[in-house]
């Protein structure tokens, strides 16, 4: 079965989705990612979806689940690289992913995770 690689980058984990998201692939990713967050004491997860050309409600829910599970394990998730056509479609579908942090690319996502590390107790970014 296809698996999605999870790469360690300092205190963060980078997940690049390059396969068509199959249900079992999504479930395996959730299991492996949560294991790795704990094993590596990761502070954040970068979820790169720049190769993904369709996000339906199933994949959208999977992204939301990954963000929620990571948060419970004290790691922030930033979704990076969403294609414009995917963004338009997601919003029209009714899935605006309001609780998910996004960035345009991996660099910007990494910067966001680093600044989130300096967050104050009320969850707002300190400037």
């Amino acid at each position: 079965m296809e698996r999605i690689p999870i790469l360690k980058m300092g205190p963060y984990l980078l997940v690049t989705i390059q396969v068509d998201m199959h249900d079992r692939v999504a479930m395996t990713l959730q299991d492996e990612l949560t294991e790795r967050i704990v094993a590596e004491r990761a502070r954040g997860v970068l979820l790169d979806i720049s190769s993904v050309d369709v996000v339906d409600s199933f994949i959208g829910r999977m992204i939301g689940n990954i963000a929620s599970m990571s948060r419970v394990l004290d790691a922030e998730t930033v979704v990076v690289g969403m294609r414009p056509a995917v963004a338009i479609t997601l919003v029209e579908l009714g899935l605006a992913l309001p609780s998910i942090k996004t960035a345009l690319n991996v660099d910007a996502g990494m910067a966001l995770l680093k600044s989130a590390g300096k967050m104050s107790g009320n969850g707002r970014l300190t400037r």
């Binding site: 199959h22 339906d56 409600s57 338009i88 479609t89 009714g94």
Partner: protein, 134 residues
């Protein structure tokens, strides 16, 4: 409305949903739909294919390249012989779900296409037809 090309695939497993997405994408490209329109149509098809599988217990998808005058488009029909939908209006409401999903499948896919038709009879099954025009 004239049909240029006609393809039928079975929806029996989640692998078939991925296959369905690829076929719809290919047809949308051939019909000259823009990237955004392709993405909307493929996403709607993915939602409806999953409905056919999860709620209808499997079924089939018919993919057609269509034209009407100078308009070109893609029509996709999803048919199942499942339990059907007792209250179609309720099922079309955003957030309504019977299986713990997000409840966006039907209502969301309707927003993503130009034409949307649903026929359902309890005990007989459900047929959903969508069209995205260029």
């Amino acid at each position: 409305m004239a049909v240029l090309r006609d393809e039928l695939i079975a929806l029996r497993s989640t692998d078939d949903i991925i296959k369905a997405r690829q076929l719809v994408r290919d047809c949308a490209v051939l019909q000259g739909l823009s990237l955004v329109d392709q993405t909307k149509l493929v996403t709607a098809a993915s939602e409806l294919a999953r409905n056919t599988l999860v709620h209808g217990g499997g079924g089939e998808m018919c993919l057609q390249a269509v034209h009407e005058g100078t308009r070109r488009g893609v029509q996709v029909t999803f048919t199942d012989q499942g339990p059907g939908i007792a209250d179609v209006e309720l099922a079309m409401t955003d957030g309504y779900t019977t299986r713990g999903g997000l409840g966006l499948g039907l209502s969301g896919s309707k927003r993503l296409v130009n034409d949307f038709a649903i026929e359902s009879k309890p005990g007989k099954g459900t047929k959903v037809t969508i069209v995205r025009w260029k």
